[in-house]
């Protein structure tokens, strides 16, 4: 069981790192923010998975907190930060 759970955790983190491509490419700020939101959901799943894997139930609390606050960043972005459409630069 542990092996399978580790494999799923590994699979999810590969997913997570793949979304970094969208953060890097944009092109608009909203695209990057969507990737960050996906990061949040995957983070919740991973914390819950690690709770099982490491036998540490308090990580479920961390997942719960992350889930509760998932909206704050997204709403701060939509209500406060995102003002205009700009194709952000692609330069690294």
């Amino acid at each position: 069981m542990t092996t399978i759970l580790s494999a799923i955790a590994l699979f999810l983190i590969v997913n997570l790192l793949a979304t970094l491509w969208r953060v890097a490419r944009g092109p608009t700020a909203a695209d990057r923010m969507l990737a960050a939101l996906l990061f949040g959901s995957t983070g919740v799943a991973l914390l819950a998975l690690l709770a099982r894997l490491q036998n540490d139930a308090s990580l479920i609390d961390a997942a719960l907190v992350l889930a509760l606050l998932a909206a704050v960043g997204g709403l701060a972005f939509a209500e406060r930060a995102w003002r205009e459409i700009r194709d952000d630069d692609r330069a690294a």
């Binding site: 990057r32 990061f39 930060a81």
Partner: protein
């Protein structure tokens, strides 16, 4: 398999930090930093530090990210960005280029030295874990991190809250007389978002109480609970249910200081008993819970004020 997980996570951390510090666009940089915070919470989970993972989840997702995103409005406002909002400085002369090169060379040397030092570090001389485990029984709580925070090194925590109060004073001091606070007068908030934050508030508050209560026996405690409460205030503020704090009135100031005062009062009372912050074992558990409750209220107010008292730069 889990080693591959750790390696990928560590690589992701370094990559996100590098991108956040090097990409040209500031919005991009901030989003990259928010992502970095989420990865960090996972790293703390892997390091068997659920207390920190909990705090990082609450602070990274609820406070730092929102603060930085909110500041972007200041940086991006107007067609011509102000000099302080201007983006990454491009080397304008050969000299500036040389300085950059020198700084980076120094960074590489320091980094290599640090890695070498880590690899060759001798084993520790003092075993703190055994000491903590040995004293845990008399600390009044069964969770080691809480025992360290509020009993073994209580004075550290006391002074740390004073530092937070100082940060709040500094923030209030650098508000100009005539700067309006963030009134968020522009577009009204989405009704759906308002409805969500109204319904989320009791759940968030309840979770904060649970996290505070849990702290005596398992990961949790005043810091995480306060971060949750402050994030609730931020959520309510973003959705324009709670207006910005134009001025920090007497009640809020008293609330922000109450935790320190309570902590100091108990410390002073214990001084009469013998030593600073050495709780009598019989009352230790109750005293710690009392201090933690006071700290939660004060820390939540301080952290919320750090967001809600920011001035509008529009």
């Amino acid at each position: 398999m889990i080693l591959a997980f750790d390696a990928l996570l560590a690589l992701g951390l370094v990559w996100c930090a590098w991108r956040a510090l090097s990409v040209r666009d500031l919005t991009h940089a901030v989003v990259q930093f928010v992502v970095f915070g989420l990865l960090l919470a996972l790293a703390w989970a892997r390091l068997a530090a659920p207390d920190i993972a909990l705090a990082e989840a609450a602070i990274g997702a609820g406070l730092t990210g929102a603060l930085l995103l909110d500041s972007l409005r200041a940086s991006n406002a107007g067609a011509a960005p102000s000099p302080s909002g201007a983006d990454i400085a491009v080397p304008t002369s050969n000299l500036a280029g040389a300085v950059r090169l020198a700084v980076w060379a120094a960074a590489v040397v320091v980094g290599a030295a640090l890695l070498l030092a880590i690899a060759t570090l001798p084993p520790p001389l003092i075993d703190l874990r055994a000491q903590v485990a040995g004293a845990l029984g008399a600390s009044g709580v069964s969770h080691a991190v809480t025992a360290v925070l509020l009993n073994f090194r209580g004075y550290d925590t006391l002074l740390e809250v004073v530092v937070l109060l100082l940060a709040l004073l500094g923030l209030l001091a650098c508000r100009g007389e005539h700067d309006p606070v963030a009134t968020a007068a522009d577009a009204p908030a989405e009704p759906l978002a308002r409805a969500l934050s109204r319904r989320a508030t009791p759940v968030l508050t309840l979770t904060a109480v649970y996290v505070l209560w849990a702290g005596t026996t398992q990961p949790g405690g005043a810091f995480q609970a306060a971060a949750l409460l402050a994030a609730t205030a931020v959520l309510l503020h973003i959705t324009r249910i709670v207006p910005a704090w134009e001025r920090l009135g007497f009640a809020r100031r008293l609330g922000a200081a109450a935790g320190v005062l309570l902590f100091l009062g108990i410390a002073a009372a214990l001084l009469a008993e013998g030593a600073l912050l050495r709780y009598p074992p019989a009352y230790a558990g109750s005293l710690i819970l009392l201090i933690e409750s006071g700290l939660t209220v004060s820390l939540a107010l301080i952290l919320a004020a750090l967001f809600l008292c920011q001035t509008e730069t529009q």
